[in-house]
């Protein structure tokens, strides 16, 4: 059993590899999204009025809490980005541009492919074909892609698991299946 996504991972600055660059990039994207939310919060706070409660004004507006949160996020995300830049994010970015493309893309290919597969399962198969069939197809593809089993074992496990889920959860326990 591995647990790469433990909730209790040792919290530390992501120093390995391109940690600062990733921190800056992710912080920057969040910063931009937050900016959009900030503008909408301002509109929801100062752009709406409620008859009879003029005294309280912005304090009772629907945008009051979003405004407080987006302002707090604005400061904190700025801190993350500034901190990442000071830790050498730009230098890491330049190094990334000079490195071969294959070297950059290869480590991301497998997680990206698994994510795409999951999206295909959720957005493409679920609802289109019976759930047991969608689940069996996804399981088969995911097991093969992960290199977990040989194709015939993957097919057998996928089919039995999907049918078991369908019978046990859908039929016996009466849980609605998509």
């Amino acid at each position: 059993m591995t647990s790469p996504a433990s909730a209790s991972d040792e919290p530390a600055e992501p120093a390995e590899g391109r940690g600062a660059l990733r921190d800056a990039a992710l912080g920057g994207v969040l910063w931009l999204l937050n900016l959009a939310a900030l503008f909408e919060s301002v509109r929801l706070t100062f752009g709406v009025t409620f008859p009879g409660s003029e005294d309280q004004g912005a304090l009772i507006a629907p945008g009051f809490m979003p405004l407080a949160l987006t302002l707090a996020l604005f400061v904190m995300l700025s801190a993350v980005v500034v901190s990442a830049l000071r830790r050498g994010a730009l230098h890491e970015g330049r190094a990334l541009l000079q490195s071969p493309l294959a070297e950059t893309v290869r480590p991301l290919a497998r997680p990206f492919a698994q994510a795409i597969l999951l999206c295909l399962f959720v957005f493409g198969l679920v609802g289109l074909v019976p759930f047991w069939a969608a689940a069996a197809l996804y399981l088969f593809a995911a097991l093969l892609l992960a290199g977990a089993l040989k194709w015939h074992w993957a097919a057998l496990l996928s089919l039995t698991s999907a049918v078991t889920v369908h019978l046990l959860m859908g039929t016996v326990m009466g849980i609605p299946l998509p």
């Binding site: 059993m1 591995t2 647990s3 790469p4 996504a5 433990s6 909730a7 209790s8 040792e10 919290p11 530390a12 600055e13 992501p14 940690g19 921190d23 992710l26 969040l30 929801l44 409620f50 304090l59 009772i60 507006a61 629907p62 945008g63 009051f64 809490m65 979003p66 949160l69 987006t70 400061v75 904190m76 995300l77 700025s78 801190a79 993350v80 500034v82 901190s83 000071r86 497998r110 997680p111 698994q114 994510a115 999951l118 399962f121 959720v122 957005f123 679920v126 996804y138 097991l143 992960a146 977990a148 089993l149 698991s161 999907a162 889920v165 959860m169 849980i175 609605p176 299946l177 998509p178």
Partner: protein, 501 residues
């Protein structure tokens, strides 16, 4: 009161069919709780319909057994897979899963089982002993105290879960709260951040978001991790169950906290668990073990969430105000069976509270013996290689996300949040504060604005000591975030380049 409880206990124990149903209900409750997406609330809601027409004694025996079992069951997947079965088990994952990674899942399960037993028992004792008095204290919590308590809970989780990266903990918490505010504003009926999408009018459901945030990073990184290492589980559950005797004072204190939080209307088992966990961490002599497999951490979290069951029943039975979401559904079951909870309950139906007490007492002991087979099954699941197990978990998460509201939109929400949070997780943004933010965001927002609606003069705070204490605690945390103590991580001001780090 105790005599009446024991009299009821004798009557119940003389009915083997009823006890048999309680065993089945408890086992089913544990399974439901262990499955991400299937909650105690949902199970009770289904049972309210299924048990209609049965003898009220049997009805409440089944419903309360499922309730207790489901709250405990959430810890099983939290320990084994780091995917809490219920929101109330999210705090358990912090220390339970590292123990499983160390090959001590059996020990952790033993500890949580005994802690859940003690928590339920403690909540029950308080329910029977001081229900009316405690309910009166809970009523002292008005909107402002509720809002501040919620805010304190969210901020403290971001502060403590990530001691090395507090700022990221707070960013996660703020994102969680912001996400929870999407949808129609309940105070004024205005849409917020819906972007004209009708499905967003009701906002994001907590459970699909929780499943996505906890499960998807686990699945994707588990499927693609470089090292796949199977950890053989050693030890026995009994070791964990016996270990709890060394933590009796902590269990007692966590029980008090859990019951106290459970009494507060709307707070519930999840906040009970978090508050007990934070208190344990604050006072522990082994703070460094928290987040790495601390026994104290799981004792506190599990005692806290199960104690909140008894706590939530106190305002439900004495004031007809449910203390948690499952208790709210239970209120429906009570009314459906002709039980009128409230101040007159003890006068109109004096036999009911002792009956509930006796049922909960039996449920407590059933918790210790039921579900052993369920646990063994999950322990076996740990021997399956991650790359085989994770696709199966992915299928179950889809079922869980869909089942809560029977909505394919919720599956998309689960996946969307999961993918985004995989990126955040890689950069060490913690998951727990985000989930707590999603749970408590609406509570904070509504209560804060309701306070401002009622009180335009801030001087009213001077008459509310609980609110002042909470404000002081929040202010202290903000100061520590801006300028951390010597030797601690870089503060916010230093990160912005406004102060030397």
């Amino acid at each position: 009161m105790l005599e009446a409880v024991f009299a009821n206990l004798r009557i119940l124990l003389e009915q083997p069919v009823l006890i048999g149903w309680m065993v089945v209900a408890m086992t089913m409750g544990i399974i439901v709780g262990a499955m991400p997406g299937l909650t105690a609330t949902m199970a009770i809601a289904i049972l309210v319909g299924l048990t209609y027409g049965l003898d009220p004694q049997l009805t409440f025996a089944i419903i309360l057994s499922v309730y207790v079992g489901a709250i405990y069951g959430g810890s099983i997947t939290a320990i084994f897979f780091n995917i809490p079965g219920t929101a109330s088990a999210a705090a358990t994952a912090l220390d339970g899963h590292p123990l499983a990674q160390q090959g001590r899942a059996n020990y952790a399960i033993g500890v949580t089982r005994m802690a859940s037993f003690l928590g339920t028992l403690f909540g029950l004792v308080l329910l029977l002993a001081v229900a009316p008095a405690l309910a009166a204290i809970a009523l002292e919590f008005t909107s402002i105290e509720m809002a501040l308590l919620g805010l304190f809970g969210v901020l403290v989780s971001g502060f403590l879960v990530t001691p090395g990266m507090r700022i990221k903990g707070w960013i996660s918490a703020c994102i969680g709260m912001l996400v929870s505010l999407v949808g129609i504003d309940l105070l004024h009926g205005l849409p917020r951040f819906t972007m004209g999408v009708p499905m967003l009018a009701t906002g994001f459901a907590v459970v699909p978001v929780m499943i996505g945030v906890f499960a998807i990073p686990q699945i994707l990184l588990g499927l693609t991790g470089a090292e796949v290492r199977r950890i053989m589980q050693k030890g026995r559950m009994s070791e964990g169950m016996l270990e709890i005797r060394h933590h009796a004072p902590l269990a007692l204190r966590s029980g008090i906290i859990g019951t106290g939080v459970g009494i507060i209307p709307g707070a519930g088992e999840d906040i009970g668990a978090w508050m007990a966990y934070f208190a344990a961490r604050f006072t522990s002599k082994k703070k460094e073990l928290f987040g790495k497999g601390s026994t104290e951490g799981i004792v506190a979290a599990e005692t806290g969430n199960n104690a909140a069951i008894g706590g939530a029943l106190i305002p439900l039975l004495t004031l007809a105000i449910p203390g948690s979401a499952p208790a709210a559904v239970l209120l429906g079951a009570l009314l459906l069976n002709g039980i009128r909870p409230g101040p007159m309950l003890m006068i109109e139906q004096p036999e009911f509270l002792p009956l509930i007490g006796a049922i909960l007492l039996i449920a407590c002991f059933l918790l210790l013996i039921c579900g052993i087979a369920v646990n063994r099954l999950f322990v076996k699941a740990l021997d399956i290689p991650t790359r085989v197990l994770m696709p199966l978990v992915a299928v179950l998460t889809v079922v869980g996300a869909y089942a809560i509201n029977i909505s394919t939109f919720d599956i998309a929400v689960m996946l969307g949040f999961g993918l985004v949070f995989t990126l955040l997780h890689v950069q060490k943004y913690p998951m727990a504060p985000m989930i707590l933010g999603v749970i408590l965001g609406p509570l904070i927002d509504e209560n804060l604005r309701r306070t401002f609606l009622a009180e335009s003069d801030p001087a009213f705070l001077l008459e509310r000591p609980i609110a002042l204490i909470l404000i002081a605690a929040i202010a202290l945390m903000v100061v520590a975030q801006l300028v951390p103590p010597r030797g601690a991580e870089t503060g916010l001001l230093s990160r912005l380049g406004l102060r030397r780090g």
